[in-house]
Structures are given as structure tokens and as C-alpha cells.
């Protein structure tokens, strides 16, 4: 019997063939933490070890509040700066070091690569599966233990395979696909599982799209998510890979999966997740007309250049009706968007560009929600109180849906834009 991607990776870690349910001791290739590194530092000190296992394998960023919005966060930043200096951690993306959201930094800067084991003290660590890595989120105490010993235990998970075929229709994006999948599988549908995506639909997607999909798999309980790596991943790593240990690893054709699903991208339509759970799927027509007070476009889920470009294309030459925050996933995305003129388009259409980071998604800065306000957001969670007031309402959607809705002050189908655009171009025969 063949092996799933997760079984292959964990067999390599163990040095022998493992199967579902086995416990494996793994040595991660890279460990990522953000501001919660300050709490991890305190636990690390309690363990009674002087030095981290390998400073070059630890990556630190600031993303939850950049710049610091409260004294507590400013002090958390101080603790991490001091610790990074003491321990000689060079991969520390402080605000003067071209940083961004930790998951974006991992993929963008060449830390995440096929076959590597990535551990992060953040639930969305699974984003790095877009680069073919086995990437898993853990708690703070656990990360302190990894810093001290360079090792952690991992249970070999069951796996779910998802074949994706075809190409997106105009106005439809990766966010619509993953919202549909989570709606179908529900919040616990992939609990403790490795979710393994493959197919020509995945090959047709940019790495940005794959990141959106992997990012959100934790919202259905996944341990990790991964897209079958290909030449696009290889090209992204060219001259950038931070480890020479990476190699193309994928599941065997006869691997045994807990469940297998298939999605055709031609069948995917714009969608939203209604308040207050990510699996509360609705088609765009069911949500059309819901009034919004704010739009948020960006963050680790949809804050890449491709996402901002898609939003700018919808907004170009028009003015948003509600306040609209643009939160690039990193300084590098910000710089490229500036260079391409995307930021100018967004600014002229009335958007507010925030510093790169988590932004309003976690309700700490850059556009928190007031009582009874409704936001359309391209981020990954719509839990009660997530973006500020517990009386607020969050609808999750793609950058195109968020942008088109921002123009109308209510949730609207972004395909309207593409229909009118193709009419103008003399097309529209469909």
C-alpha cells in the first residue's frame, strides 16, 4: 500500500515506515513565531536551557500589531528583540527588516519548500503547504519545547485528498473554492487530518491562490494542508531557498485516504461565509443586498500581489461607498504593488492602505469594527468579536467580491463587473 504525503514526510522524520496513528519524533527544518514569541521566551526560560537548539532554524516576525498599537504589544516587541539578539537569531523580520505576516514571510523568503517540516506557533501555519511543505501549527508551550530541544512529537494523521480540475470562471477565485470546501466539510470535517490537494486545477493556480486555500484548511480542523508541488514552486525558490534539504515529495498513487473529493473549478461560483462561523457557506445570490459598513482586503489569506491586483482591477476609476482597508501581506507585496501602480489605483478609489500585517482581521488595529457594524473581509475568520465589537458581523469573501461590494455599499456579485467589462470590450457572447 502506498503512502500519503503526510505518511511520506513523517516516515522520513522517523527513519522507518510509519502509518496513521503512529507517533513520530520530528526535527523541524524551520520554526516560525510572531508576537507570541514573547510568551514563548518566558516558557523557554522555565525549561532551564540557556540557548535555542539552532538560531538559524528559528524565524521571527511581527505581524499582529505593526507598528505596536498598545503598550503591552510594544513591550512584547521589546522582549522578542532582546531575545533575538541574545540568541543570535538572524531570521528576525523586525519592522526595519522588510517583514510581513509570518506565513507570507515563510513562503516569500524561501523558508517553506517541498518536503520540509515547518512548525509555527500560529494556527494558520498550514499556509506553507502551498510551497509543498509539511507545515503544522502548535501551541506556545510546545514551541518553547522545540526551541529548547529541536524536536517535537507528531501523530501521523489520517489524510483527505482533494482533486481540483479546470480553471476559474471570471470573477471567481481561490477563496470561493475554499469557502465551498469548508462549507461542504464543515468546521470539524478535516479534524487532525492532512488535506492534500492535486490536479490540473491546482497546477493552473498561482502560488498566491494555493496559499489562500492552504491557509484556510485549519478552519475545518486540518493538521496541515498541502498542494502538490510543481515547477511554479521550483521557480519561486530559485535563488531563494533557505535550506538545501528540500525535495519534491508527493503521495503515492495508491495511497490510502480517509476520504477523497473532487471539485471542478468551472462549478465554483462567488460565495461568502456568513457570520459567525467559517463553515456557514452561502452563495453570493443568497447574500446579495446585505448592507456593509466596511471592507477589508488583504491579510495572510488574501494579501498577495495577485489579490491586490484583482481588487484594483475591479475598483479602477471608481470610488468605494464604504471605508475600505487594504492590508498587504508583507512589505515586499506593498513595494511591488507600489511599483505596479496598484496602490495608486486603490488610493484614488478611496481605499486606506494599512501597514502590512494581520491588520483588522484580529481586531487589534487598522480598522476594528464598532457595534452593529458589518464588514466584508478577505481574511480567514468571522467569529463573533474577531474584528472588534461582539455586536459586529463579518462576511468572508474573495478580494473581487469584497472590492465589488465596497463599490456598492452592499454585498454584490463580482461577476457583474466582468460582464459589464466584457460588454464594453465588445465581447459578452457568453
Amino acid at each position: 500500500m502506498g503512502k500519503t504525503f503526510a505518511e511520506k514526510i513523517l516516515s522520513r522524520c522517523a527513519g522507518y515506515d510509519v502509518t496513521v496513528g503512529d507517533i513520530v519524533f520530528a526535527k523541524p527544518d524551520f520554526c516560525i513565531s510572531h508576537e507570541n514569541a514573547s510568551a514563548i521566551c518566558a516558557t523557554f526560560k522555565k525549561i532551564g536551557v540557556d540557548n535555542v537548539f539552532d538560531p538559524d532554524k528559528i524565524v521571527l516576525t511581527f505581524d499582529h500589531t505593526v507598528p505596536a498599537s498598545t503598550i503591552a504589544y510594544a513591550n512584547a516587541h521589546r522582549v522578542v528583540r532582546k531575545f533575538a539578539k541574545e540568541q543570535g537569531i538572524e531570521n528576525f523580520y523586525d519592522m526595519n527588516k522588510y517583514g510581513g505576516v509570518c506565513h507570507q514571510i515563510m513562503c516569500q523568503e524561501g523558508f517553506s519548500a517541498p518536503g520540509l517540516v515547518i512548525i509555527g506557533s500560529d494556527s494558520h501555519t498550514c499556509t506553507s503547504g502551498a510551497m509543498g511543505a509539511f507545515a503544522v501549527g502548535v501551541g506556545r508551550t510546545e514551541m518553547a519545547g522545540v526551541w529548547a530541544t529541536g524536536e517535537l512529537w507528531l501523530k501521523v494523521p489520517d489524510a483527505i485528498s482533494i482533486e481540483v480540475t479546470g480553471d476559474f470562471q471570471p470573477g471567481v477565485g481561490a477563496k470561493d473554492l475554499i469557502l465551498r470546501i469548508i462549507g461542504d466539510m464543515r468546521a470539524d470535517g478535516a479534524d487532525y487530518c492532512s488535506v492534500e490537494f492535486y490536479g490540473d486545477g491546482i497546477e493552473n493556480m498561482s502560488i498566491a491562490d494555493r496559499m489562500t486555500i492552504c491557509n484556510m484548511c485549519v478552519e475545518m480542523g486540518a493538521k496541515n494542508a498541502v498542494c502538490k508541488p510543481d515547477d511554479k514552486v521550483r521557480a519561486a525558490l530559485e535563488g531563494k531557498a533557505k535550506s538545501d534539504k528540500w525535495e519534491m515529495v508527493w503521495a503515492d498513487d495508491d495511497a490510502e485516504y480517509l476520504a477523497s473529493y473532487r471539485y471542478s473549478l468551472e462549478d465554483i461560483a462567488p460565495a461568502v461565509a456568513k457570520p459567525h462561523t467559517v463553515d456557514n457557506y452561502a452563495t453570493i445570490s443568497e447574500a446579495t443586498g446585505i448592507k456593509i459598513d466596511q471592507a477589508l482586503i488583504g491579510t495572510c489569506t488574501n494579501g498577495r500581489l495577485e489579490d491586490l491586483r484583482a481588487a484594483a482591477e475591479v475598483l479602477k476609476g471608481r470610488r468605494v461607498k464604504v471605508r475600505t482597508m487594504i492590508t498587504p501581506a508583507s512589505v515586499e507585496v506593498y513595494r511591488q504593488a507600489l511599483k505596479e501602480g496598484i496602490l495608486e489605483t486603490l488610493l484614488l478609489s478611496g481605499c486606506t492602505i494599512t501597514p502590512p500585517g494581520c491588520g483588522a482581521c484580529i481586531g487589534l488595529s487598522s480598522g476594528v469594527l464598532g457595534d452593529h457594524e458589518t464588514c466584508i473581509s478577505t481574511a480567514n475568520r468571522n467569529f463573533k468579536g474577531r474584528m472588534g465589537s461582539k455586536e459586529g458581523f463579518i462576511y468572508l469573501a474573495s478580494p473581487m467580491t469584497a472590492a465589488w461590494s465596497a463599490l456598492h455599499g452592499e454585498i454584490r456579485d463580482p461577476r457583474e463587473h466582468f460582464e459589464s467589462a466584457s460588454d464594453k470590450a465588445g465581447g459578452g457572447q457568453a
Binding site: 501549527g137 518553547a144 480542523g221
Partner: protein, 162 residues
């Protein structure tokens, strides 16, 4: 290590917000977390747990936010072990790391008020009230060791590594 006590039984999908509300997670004091454990689910929890330290639930216990304060609060409140049909992944890991024993088994035949007896690491739990033996997913050896020392920090202090 044997655990023997009465059961407090809850249902499915007990999320970490019900275990400890987000507004309390900023405190690092275990005593304070203990006082508020499960309060949105069961206001009498902290009283009940004094005479019944085993929590039994249905599926997907600990879903929602990955906050480590959830298993910390249960342990600090005096919970000796949680039995559930399944646990959310990060809760499971966090529970191991903070030293809260957790066991997966079919919990349908365990009722509120029953007395359970379980030896950490063994493959069955005895429901002394009904006399039934219920098979459990056996805990890996490393987890038993971590539970016995009281959590990952203590385990590493004593052993220096895995």
C-alpha cells in the same frame, strides 16, 4: 498512575470559548483561570468538579481558538482527566503539553455521576457504576510520561529532551 472519580458529562462541540472565555485569557494566573473554567457552559462547574473531577464529553472537544489557557483552566480547576469521542487537534496537543490527561473513547455509555477508573496508558476504562469496560485509544508512551511529570516544561526540566 490511576485516576478514579465521578463524572461530569457534557455534549458535543465544547469549544475553547466555553472552556475559558477569551476575556480571561490575558491573565496568567492559574487560580483566576480555574475560577472561570466552563462558566458559560455550566455555572456550577467549579463546585461540581470538587466531587467529580472527570469530564466526559461527546465529539470535537476543545474546538475553536487554539488558546492554551483552555486545558490550563481545566487542570487548574481540578479536572483529573477528560474523556471524549474526539478532540480538536490543537486542544489535544495543548492538553498534553500542559499536563491535562485526555483520552479518546466511546463515551455514549458513560453517564453524568458515574464513577470511572482508569490507569494512565492502559487500553480500557472501567465504568464502576455500570461494571462495563470500555476500550480507549491507548495513549502513546511519550504522552503518559509527559502527563506523569505534569506537562512538557516539567518533563524537559527533568529529562533534558525526548
Amino acid at each position: 498512575m490511576e485516576i478514579k472519580d465521578k463524572v461530569i458529562k457534557y455534549g458535543n462541540d465544547i469549544n475553547t470559548d466555553l472552556i475559558i472565555a477569551g476575556k480571561y485569557t490575558k491573565t496568567l494566573s492559574n487560580e483566576e483561570l480555574a475560577v472561570h473554567a466552563m462558566e458559560d457552559l455550566d455555572v456550577h462547574f467549579t463546585k461540581k468538579v470538587k466531587g467529580a473531577s472527570i469530564v466526559v464529553a461527546g465529539s470535537y472537544f476543545g474546538c475553536g481558538s487554539s488558546r492554551e489557557a483552555a486545558p490550563v483552566a481545566l487542570r487548574a480547576a481540578g479536572v483529573s482527566c477528560v474523556f471524549a469521542k474526539s478532540f480538536a487537534r490543537i486542544f489535544f496537543r495543548n492538553a498534553v503539553n500542559v499536563g491535562l490527561p485526555i483520552v479518546e473513547c466511546d463515551t455514549d455509555r458513560i453517564n453524568d455521576g458515574d464513577t470511572l477508573r482508569y490507569v494512565l496508558g492502559s487500553s480500557e476504562v472501567i465504568n464502576e457504576t455500570t461494571g462495563e469496560s470500555i476500550p480507549v485509544n491507548p495513549l502513546p508512551e511519550i504522552m503518559v510520561k509527559i502527563f506523569q511529570t505534569g506537562g512538557l516544561v516539567q518533563y524537559f526540566r527533568e529529562t533534558g529532551g525526548y
